[in-house]
C-alpha cells in the first residue's frame, strides 16, 4: 500500500471523539478568510486570485487537466455509443469542480467519490481505461483505494457520504492530519444518509469536507423541486460552516477546498461546500434530457463554460496562446486514444473469480460452490488467452 506519509498530532487526551482537545478555532478561520475573497456569484475576485497565489504554471496545469478530462468524457460517450460500454455518465460541466477540488488536496488526503467523479479519479492518477472496465461490465472495482487515497465509486446515491465521515473519524482517532473529501450531487442532499452524516460529522468534529457538485439536475428533477433554500446554508444546522462557490471557476473551487482541507487537518472540523455547476449532458447515456429541459435552460451555463473561463483567466495573465491550446488538445487526443486502447485490450477475468472477491476469508461452503460453478464453464483455452464468455 503506497500510503502517503503523515505526521501525527501529539494530542493524547482521552476524550470522546466529539470532545476534542485539538484546539480548534485558535487561529483565524480559513473558511471565513476565503469567503471574503469570493464575489456575490461565488467566483474568486481579482483580489482573491492575487491572495490565493496560484502561479501561472499551476493554472495552466489545471486548464490542461480540465481539457484532457473533458476529452476523456467525450471518448467515454463515444465508446458507449459504439457499443463498447454498457453505460456512461458524462461529467462535462463539472471539470472545474472536480479538478480544482483534487488539486487543492494533499496526496495524503482521501477522496470518497460518487459515480460522476471521473475527473477526480483521473487527477488522482487512476488509469482512465481501467476505470472504464467498470462500465464495460468486467469488474465492480478497478483500483486499490489505498494506492490512490481514492475510495470506489458508489452507486446508491449519498451512501458514500457517511463512509467518508467514518474514515475521517478514524484519521482523527489516529491523530493524523488527513482531510477527507466526499463528492456528491445535489440530489444526494435529500437522502437521510447525507443528513445523518452531516450530523455525525458535526458531533464528532470529523475532519471531512462535504463537496456538493450541485449541477441543477438529479436526472430530470430540477433543483427547485429538490431543495428548498440553499444547500450551503444547511451546514449551520449541523454546527459547522458551509459556503457556496462558483463551481465553474476552477480557482475559486481550488481556494475554497484548500481552505476547508487546512481547517480539517488543523482540527477545525467539517465544512460543507456547495459548488454550483451544470451537467451539460444527460444523466447517463440511458437518459434523454430533451424530455425535461430546453436549450434555453442550458444556455446561461454554457456561456459560463468552466474551460473557457479558465482560459480567460490565463489570457488575463498572458499565459495562454494558440500553441498552448493546441498542445493541450493534442494531449487530450493522445490520452483518449490511450484510454480506448487500454479498455479494448482489457482481458476479462475468469467468471469464477467473482467468488474469490466476496470475502477476505471465504467459508469452505462458498469455495465448494465456486468449484461447482467453475465445472460448468468452458475450460480455459491457453492459446486464446482468457476470453471468458
Amino acid at each position: 500500500m503506497a500510503k502517503a506519509t503523515v505526521t501525527r498530532h501529539t494530542t493524547g487526551k482521552d476524550a470522546a471523539p466529539g470532545q476534542s482537545a485539538d484546539g480548534a478555532n485558535t487561529t483565524a478561520d480559513p473558511i471565513e478568510e476565503i469567503r471574503a475573497l469570493l464575489g456575490p456569484d461565488g467566483a474568486l475576485t481579482e483580489e482573491g486570485e492575487r491572495v490565493v497565489g496560484v502561479d501561472d504554471a499551476t493554472l495552466r496545469d489545471l486548464y490542461r487537466q480540465m481539457v484532457v478530462c473533458r476529452r476523456l468524457d467525450q471518448e467515454g460517450l463515444n465508446l458507449q455509443r459504439q457499443g463498447e460500454l454498457g453505460l456512461w455518465g458524462p461529467f462535462t460541466g463539472h471539470e472545474a469542480a472536480q479538478v480544482g477540488a483534487v488539486r487543492a488536496l494533499d496526496d495524503a488526503d482521501w477522496i470518497f467519490p460518487f459515480y460522476r467523479d471521473f475527473a477526480m479519479a483521473v487527477c488522482r492518477g487512476i488509469d482512465p481505461g481501467a476505470i472504464l472496465t467498470i462500465f464495460r461490465g468486467l469488474t465492480h472495482g478497478a483500483w486499490n483505494p489505498h494506492t490512490y487515497r481514492f475510495a470506489p465509486f458508489i452507486i446508491p446515491v449519498g451512501t458514500q457520504i457517511p463512509h467518508a465521515v467514518g474514515f475521517a473519524l478514524g484519521c482523527k482517532l489516529d491523530h493524523e492530519p488527513i482531510a477527507t473529501l466526499v463528492g456528491f450531487g445535489e440530489g444526494a442532499t435529500s437522502t437521510g444518509d447525507w443528513h445523518e452524516a452531516m450530523n455525525f460529522a458535526g458531533v464528532f468534529q470529523a475532519p471531512v469536507i462535504f463537496f456538493c457538485e450541485n449541477n441543477q439536475w438529479a436526472i430530470s428533477v430540477p433543483i427547485r423541486e429538490q431543495v428548498a433554500g440553499r444547500i450551503a446554508d444547511r451546514a449551520a444546522g449541523y454546527g459547522f460552516p458551509g459556503l457556496r462557490v462558483d463551481g465553474g471557476d476552477v480557482l475559486a473551487v481550488y481556494a475554497v477546498v484548500r481552505a476547508a482541507a487546512a481547517r480539517a487537518r488543523a482540527g477545525g472540523g467539517p465544512t460543507l461546500i456547495e459548488a454550483l455547476t451544470y451537467r451539460f449532458g444527460p444523466h447517463t447515456t440511458s437518459d434523454d434530457p430533451t424530455r425535461y429541459r430546453t436549450a434555453a435552460d442550458d444556455d446561461a451555463w454554457r456561456a459560463n463554460d468552466p474551460i473557457t473561463r479558465c482560459a480567460e483567466r490565463l489570457r488575463a495573465r498572458n499565459a495562454y496562446d494558440d500553441a498552448f491550446a493546441s498542445e493541450v488538445a493534442a494531449e487530450g487526443e493522445q490520452r483518449a486514444a490511450q484510454m480506448r486502447q487500454t479498455l479494448l485490450s482489457a482481458t476479462p477475468p475468469r467468471p469464477e473469480s467473482v467468488f474469490d472477491l466476496v470475502f477476505a476469508n471465504p467459508p469452505a461452503a462458498l469455495m465448494r460452490e465456486k468449484a461447482e460453478f467453475a465445472a460448468t464453464l468452458e475450460p480455459v483455452d491457453e492459446t486464446q488467452g482468457t476470453e471468458g464468455e
Binding site: 471523539p17 465492480h140 451512501t159 457517511p162 467518508a164 482517532l173 452524516a197
Partner: protein
C-alpha cells in the same frame, strides 16, 4: 422459559474443578472487553453503549475501562452507525457496532446490503470489511412492537455477510470473539431472551477453544429424529428432547450457530443418521431458514429421509402482541408434535 441452565456443552460434565456460572450477557461483555484489551484497533460504538452500557448492559463498564475514544455513543441513526463502521475499516479499525433492537437495524439495511457486504468485491479485495454488527433479536421478552423480530433471513440472503448466532454463554463468548477477529463483516445476532441464561463452566471462557464461524454444533446426540435450531430456539429444542426422552424417543439437536453459511455437512450427517428432521425458528416459516434447509436436505437425501422435513416457526403475520407471542413461537409441544408427524411415516 424453564430451562435457564445449559447442560449440554460437555463442559459441565467435568467434575473435579470448581465451577463458575456465567450468563450470556456477561459472556458477551467479556468478549467485548477482551477484544478491546487485545486489539488496539477495536472500537465499540452505537446508541447508549457508553456510560449506560447499552440498554441490555452488554457494554457495561467498557467505556470506563477503555475510555471514550474506544467506546462511545453515537447519534441515533443506524444507517450512519453502520456506514461509519465501514469507513473506519478502511482506516484499519475493527469496529463493533451495536444496533439497539432487531427492527431498529432496518434503517441500516441499505448500508449493510449495498456497501458493507459488497465493499470487498468493489475494491478487488483491497478493503476487507472487518467489522461486527451486533443485533439483539428474537422475542419472548414481553415487549412492544419492533422489539422482538427475527430478521435473519434478510441478512443471510445477502452474499458477502457472515451471520452467526450463539445459543449458550460459551458460544456467545467464542463466536463473538471469532467474529471480531474475522476479516469479513459479521452480523452477530444475539438472542436477547437468553441474555440472562446461565451456564456452569469449569474453565474460564477465554481458555475454551474458539468455535469456527461456519460450523454447527451437535447440542445433544440422538437417533430417532433431528431438531435443527439456532439462537433462542436451541434451549426449547433441548427441552423438547429431554421431554421426548421420558417417552423413550431419542432426539438429536443441531445448533446451527452459523446462519450464513449453513453447515450442511453437519446437518446432512445428522439427517442421514436419524432420517427425520424438524427445523424450529422464531422467524416466520415462510422463506425462513427452514425453507432452505428443507430444500437442501430433500434434494440431497431424497432417498434417505423417511418423512418430509417439518418446519416450526412464526405465522405469516407481523410479530404478534406479546400477550400472544408464546402461541406463535416454537415451544416444546409444537416441536414434539412435529417430531410425531415425522414419525408417522
Amino acid at each position: 422459559m424453564a430451562h435457564v441452565t445449559e447442560t449440554t456443552t460437555g463442559v459441565t460434565q467435568a467434575t473435579a474443578s470448581a465451577t463458575t456460572t456465567v450468563t450470556m450477557g456477561k459472556a458477551l461483555n467479556l468478549a467485548l472487553h477482551d477484544a478491546l484489551r487485545d486489539d488496539p484497533r477495536a472500537l465499540i460504538f452505537g446508541e447508549d453503549v457508553g456510560q449506560l452500557g447499552g440498554v441490555f448492559r452488554i457494554t457495561d463498564g467498557l467505556q470506563a475501562e477503555f475510555g471514550a475514544t474506544r467506546v462511545f455513543n453515537t447519534p441515533l441513526a443506524e444507517a450512519t452507525i453502520a456506514a461509519t463502521a465501514l469507513g473506519l475499516t478502511i482506516k484499519g479499525f475493527h469496529p463493533i457496532a451495536e444496533m439497539q433492537f432487531d427492527a431498529f437495524s432496518y434503517p441500516a439495511f441499505q448500508q449493510v446490503t449495498s456497501n458493507i457486504a459488497k465493499y470487498h468485491t468493489r475494491t478487488g479485495g483491497a478493503c476487507p470489511v472487518s467489522l461486527v454488527i451486533r443485533i439483539p433479536y428474537g422475542g419472548l421478552i414481553g415487549a412492544i412492537e419492533q422489539h422482538s423480530e427475527s430478521p435473519e433471513t434478510y441478512y443471510v440472503h445477502t452474499a458477502g455477510l457472515k451471520v452467526v448466532t450463539p445459543a449458550t454463554p460459551a458460544d456467545a463468548y467464542g463466536l463473538l470473539t471469532a467474529a471480531i477477529r474475522d476479516p469479513d463483516p459479521v452480523i452477530f445476532l444475539e438472542p436477547k431472551a437468553r441474555y440472562w441464561s446461565r451456564q456452569d463452566l469449569t474453565q474460564p471462557l477465554e481458555s475454551l477453544p474458539l468455535p469456527p464461524l461456519d460450523k454447527a454444533r451437535i447440542a445433544r446426540t440422538g437417533t430417532d429424529a433431528t431438531i435443527v435450531a439456532y439462537g433462542p430456539t436451541v434451549a426449547t429444542a433441548l427441552a423438547a428432547a429431554e421431554a421426548a426422552q421420558q417417552e423413550g424417543v431419542s432426539l438429536e439437536v443441531v445448533d446451527l450457530r452459523s446462519l450464513a453459511p449453513i453447515d450442511f455437512e453437519t446437518l446432512m450427517a445428522s439427517a442421514r443418521k436419524t432420517r427425520r428432521v424438524v427445523v424450529a425458528h422464531e422467524a416466520p416459516v415462510y422463506m425462513g431458514l427452514g425453507a432452505e434447509i428443507a430444500a437442501r436436505l430433500t434434494h440431497d437425501l431424497f432417498d434417505t429421509l423417511v418423512a418430509p422435513v417439518e418446519r416450526i416457526g412464526a405465522a405469516t403475520t407481523p410479530y404478534p402482541p406479546s400477550r400472544f407471542e408464546k402461541l406463535f413461537l416454537p415451544d416444546v409441544d409444537r416441536i414434539l408434535e412435529a417430531v410425531d408427524r415425522t414419525r408417522e411415516y
